[in-house]
Symmetry: C2
Subunit: 150 residues, 2 copies
DNA sequence: CCGGTTTTAGTACGTTATTACGTAAGATAG
DNA sequence: CTATCTTACGTAATAACGTACTAAAACCGG
């Protein structure tokens, strides 16, 4: 089976999962929202909001930035997409919602490539550090810059 | 001793430390750079670049954003200041440079307050997770959003 | 003092994100 | 069905954040 086919299957799987998630939570995955999500899935990595504007626009219709930002806000609230603050870009959230794990997004400082890893060990260590510092209810998501080992 | 006096002492201590660090590394803590650093110290928390522009400007002279950004770049390179990507703001770096520790900046999602914690345990757990994912030379700095336990 | 480097300065510009306001489409109660 | 309420989308303008480029002044080693 070709890589392309694999990605196509994975793509559809992600879209079905997103659809199910929205249905279960009474959220509406409208055409624009789905197109934004699909574009992020297909890109295979982080994409900037204005880049999404370009990709989802055509000669007939040019989308406004705010349209994209609204879709991104929705997808983020639904937990389908993460914002990479260090990159000013957006990327799909892989992985099933494991409440106890920290979702670490490793970001290659040079290429911008990302790899998402879930770790309960990191979650536990961070929770402990937070407790010492008087912090609570820590976000289950963090970004770490580094370099892909090629 | 009053809180104010304590902070004043701490302030001077941080400035001396910054001064020493620059002297030792042949870096020049010029007036603008020192004013930016001092402002960050006095604020006691993260401050945006344009906020710094306002605070360090007066009727006679209005600084350009680029002036502040240059000073911030210098201070960041020197390790005296961190950029909080999630907040688009800048905050002084506490603590001594322990190579093995992860510098975690806990950011209160509501107030923007920050607490810096160094943890070798988190560093180790992250390093392990990175290794699994094929990552290396991970940044010793990360941001975690949460809430201060009051 | 000279010549190279670093620092400051200023304008303009590019990129990212939000606000404000109006309209349309969908759900819901009467 | 229709009046109403909510949610989503369209449009325009603007705010907020950051950089490129150019030029002049300050610093420093020889």
């Amino acid at each position: 089976m070709s890589t392309k086919a694999l990605r196509k299957e994975e793509e559809e799987s992600l879209l079905r999962r997103a659809d199910d998630l929205c249905r279960q939570n009474n959220l509406r995955l409208t055409p624009i929202r789905e197109r934004v999500y699909r574009e992020l899935v297909q890109s295979g990595g982080p994409v900037g909001a204005y880049d999404l504007v370009d990709r989802l626009s055509n000669e007939k219709k040019r989308l406004a930035p705010v349209t994209i930002y609204r879709a991104l806000d929705f997808l983020r609230d639904a937990g389908l997409v993460h914002r990479l603050a260090t990159q000013n870009s957006y990327v799909i959230s892989h992985g099933q919602p494991d409440v106890n794990a920290m979702k670490i997004m490793f970001v290659d400082s040079k290429t911008g490539e990302t790899i998402e890893v879930h770790s309960t060990e990191v979650a536990e260590a961070v929770r402990k550090a937070a407790e010492q510092a008087g912090f609570k209810s820590v976000s289950p998501f963090m970004e770490v810059e580094g370099e892909i080992a090629h």
